[in-house]
């Protein structure tokens, strides 16, 4: 489970370098997100553009990441159609701000792709 981040003045972009966020990696994902959200800017964009598959455990880990980053805004970017479908079916698309891409999130303010 490889995640890295890049900071601009007021945004931290965390990129997930995995094609799956599933039951096998959910706990690791959540722990790494906790570490990466501990410091840095208060606005965090989670770039999921390399993730082609997410299951309910992975979804739960993304939700947990938002909750544990209390006080910070966690936004999502670059959801593949399959990943977006899971967010829509569970209505989690209404909980997160979802951007078309990390670039759109950084450049275009708060355009919500859903």
């Amino acid at each position: 489970m490889q995640l890295d981040y890049h900071d601009t003045a007021n945004v931290r972009t965390i990129t997930v370098h995995e094609d799956r966020v599933d039951a096998a990696v959910a706990i690791t994902f959540k722990d790494k997100m906790r570490d990466l959200c501990e410091d840095g800017p208060d606005r965090v964009i989670l770039d999921l553009s390399q993730v082609m598959f997410i299951d309910s455990s992975g979804l739960g880990a993304v939700v947990a990441s938002m909750k544990q980053a209390s006080g910070k805004a966690l936004e999502l970017a670059g959801l593949s159609p399959t990943v977006l479908k899971v967010f829509r079916l569970t209505r989690m698309d209404s909980v997160f701000v979802i951007h078309e891409s990390a670039a759109a999130a950084l450049g275009g303010g708060l355009a919500n792709a859903s």
């Binding site: 039951a23 598959f53 479908k85 079916l89 569970t90 209505r91």
Partner: protein, 170 residues
Amino acid sequence: MRPERLSFMGHARDLHKGSILPTCPRLHLVFPSDELAVRKALKSSMAGLAHMDMSADEKGTVELVLAEVLNNVVEHAYGGAGQGVIELDVSRDDDILVFDVLDDGLPMPDGETPAGRPLDLDTCAEQDLPEGGFGWFLIRELTQDLTYRRDGNRNHLSFKMRLGDKYRPN
């Protein structure tokens, strides 16, 4: 690379392949009850179903449902201990995929598949958002004819998924 075989696993890993062919419209997988084995089983299943010309959306849906069902077996029926065996059988009935999942783990609570509910948006503050419990909602939402039986010491879950108009067997 061939994984090490442990004594309790039997021939699970040897049977870890298959495809639904026109001449043999059945896919049968037997694998150990851990999350990485489930990943492999999903990969094998999707490879076995590849020639069915499903849309990307349908493939994503089938993989999601299988992931939810199989990981439930790993986590709940076998309690995450990783020492059980799971059997997955997929057959085709025209444009319907028929799934049977068998395991020797604990029975479902109250002998029934759990109810699944979507997020209740009216009552949910951020800190109260659920981090789990979506699996059964997704399974119920995306499948038909979901049935659960306890046969002796075995759990037997079966369900169907109807493919869209784009389905074309080769």
